[in-house]
């Protein structure tokens, strides 16, 4: 039991978030082990982005608790955030900086050891396929490369928990494949949460899937479990999130 607890990199209990009377997220539980890739699914407006913003400290939950690597995010936000990497839906890029300048800034913000910075920068650029783009202005890069810079920004400090909000949106099929490969690599040493609308992406990348609908978690199942039951993710998704109104 103790081992299992130590392996938990992220644990969110009974997360709720209200906007006025409207409950955007209601009693959501997420637990994530090291080396696990979790797919967060749900129709638009289900509360995926709100949940992710809460997990990264961008939004305070109305009730509930979040622990990152055993550190409470609400009590000790700075220590907890050091273990987090976050790519929001719209990558937070400074268009007037070059890729190198931008990654250097992010590395400093995440307190990467000063001496290690050049190696870290090279490694992350290589991982995200940005080797020959270091001197380019971010604003002049194509959407695909901007997305890669966004991912590089999230993984530069080697975080234990990586949260990616729709990382493959707007990419061409080749780029999607590369990014998925990268996510699987990341899932070996860290935990990854990934939200997406593409069901095949979840099937190819994730170990576990959680489906949200109208702010509630309606499914939490491992991919292996789904396969054993012989059900397709798509059927499950339609069943759980289809409105009969």
């Amino acid at each position: 039991m103790a081992d299992e607890k130590a392996d938990l990199t992220l644990s969110a209990q009974d997360l709720c978030r209200n906007y006025g009377d409207h409950a955007a997220v209601h009693k959501v539980n997420i637990q994530l082990k090291r080396g696990e890739v979790l797919g967060l699914l749900g129709p638009n407006g289900a509360g995926k982005t709100t949940t992710m913003r809460m997990l990264t400290g961008n939004l305070a939950p109305s009730t509930g608790s979040i622990e990152i690597c055993g550190i409470d995010l609400l009590d000790k936000p700075q220590q907890a955030k050091a273990h987090l990497g976050f790519l929001p839906e719209i990558p937070p890029l400074y268009r007037e900086l070059t890729v190198d300048e931008y990654l250097l800034l992010v590395a400093r913000l995440h307190r990467v050891d000063r001496q290690a910075i050049p190696t870290v920068l090279n490694k992350v650029k290589q991982r995200c396929g940005l080797e020959d783009r270091g001197k380019h202005l971010i604003g002049t890069l194509s959407k695909g490369f901007q997305q890669r810079v966004g991912i590089a920004q999230a993984i530069i400090h080697n975080p234990d928990v990586i949260i990616l909000d729709e990382p493959t949106v707007g990419l061409d099929p080749n780029q999607m494949r590369e990014i998925r490969k990268l996510i699987r690599e990341l899932g070996v040493s860290s935990s990854v949460i990934l939200s997406t609308h593409i069901l095949s992406e979840v099937e190819s990348v994730c170990d576990r899937v959680q489906i949200m609908h109208k702010g509630k978690m309606v499914l939490d199942e491992t991919m292996a479990g789904l396969q054993q039951q012989g059900t397709h993710l798509e059927t499950v998704f339609t069943e759980l999130t289809h409105d009969n109104e």
Partner: protein
């Protein structure tokens, strides 16, 4: 951590042409005033010699230059402060700072101090301009000091207010207009209060700067400046925190 934010602010400020254009324009305007006053001084110099205890070049040339500088900074601050938070929000880059292990206080202070370093450069250039008068005479360094201190403090107040207004919106232009409106309002108080001759004067930033401009380092004015600055910085931090809690 504050150092990282300051560095980022300055490098982004000087990467854009805005900073350079503003530095040039400020210097151009103030040099114009400076030369105008110098000209006037040379014209009235013979008459000054005839009166007892005449005002020196510091009072005749430098004080008006600093008075003008305060007004120029009042106009320029909204242009510089608007980008600080409003633009980050519009470009969705504020998320990057908030997700990083950096506190809100660090973010706000870093941005504020970054702007203050830029103003130190501006004020440094003005002081250099004034010191060039040493070529042809002597200066009252006490008066120059009090003017420099006053200008620095009043610029800090402008920046703190601009930063707060910038935290209220996601539109840089609205932030600029808002900050300019409030700053002009605080200036206009002077005109409104002159008739009533009352307590309203205490709220005017430029009125307090006027004391420094005449060489009077008034504790009340310093206290007002510091309070003003701290209030708006705290409001900014609270505003950003509130957004996380309620937004």
């Amino acid at each position: 951590m504050i150092a990282t934010i300051i560095r980022k602010e300055l490098s982004m400020l000087f990467a854009s042409p805005l900073a350079w254009i503003l530095l040039t324009l400020i210097q151009l305007v103030l040099t114009w005033v400076f030369l105008g006053r110098l000209d006037a001084f040379l014209e009235i110099q013979p008459q000054l010699l005839q009166i007892e205890n005449p005002p020196g070049i510091t009072e005749i040339i430098i004080s008006p230059v600093f008075a003008m500088a305060a007004i120029v900074l009042l106009m320029v601050t909204p242009l510089l402060s608007m980008r600080l938070l409003a633009e980050e929000r519009r470009n969705h880059t504020l998320t990057l700072l908030i997700s990083a292990p950096v506190s809100m206080t660090d973010i706000v202070l870093g941005k504020f101090l970054g702007l203050m370093i830029f103003y130190s450069v501006v004020i440094g250039l003005i002081v250099t301009l004034c010191i060039s008068l040493l070529l042809g005479g002597t200066l009252d360094f006490g008066l120059l000091m009090s003017n420099t201190l006053g200008l620095f403090l009043v610029a800090a107040c402008f920046s703190a207010l601009g930063l707060y207004v910038s935290s209220l919106t996601a539109q840089p232009v609205i932030a600029a207009i808002g900050a300019l409106g409030v700053l002009l309002g605080l200036w206009m108080i002077d005109l409104a209060a002159s008739e009533m001759d009352g307590w309203l004067h205490y709220f005017s930033l430029l009125k307090h700067f006027g004391h420094f401009n005449q060489g009077l380092i008034d504790t009340l004015s310093i206290a007002y400046f510091v309070l003003f600055m701290v209030t708006f910085l705290v409001l900014t931090i609270r505003r950003l925190d509130g957004e996380r809690l309620h937004g």
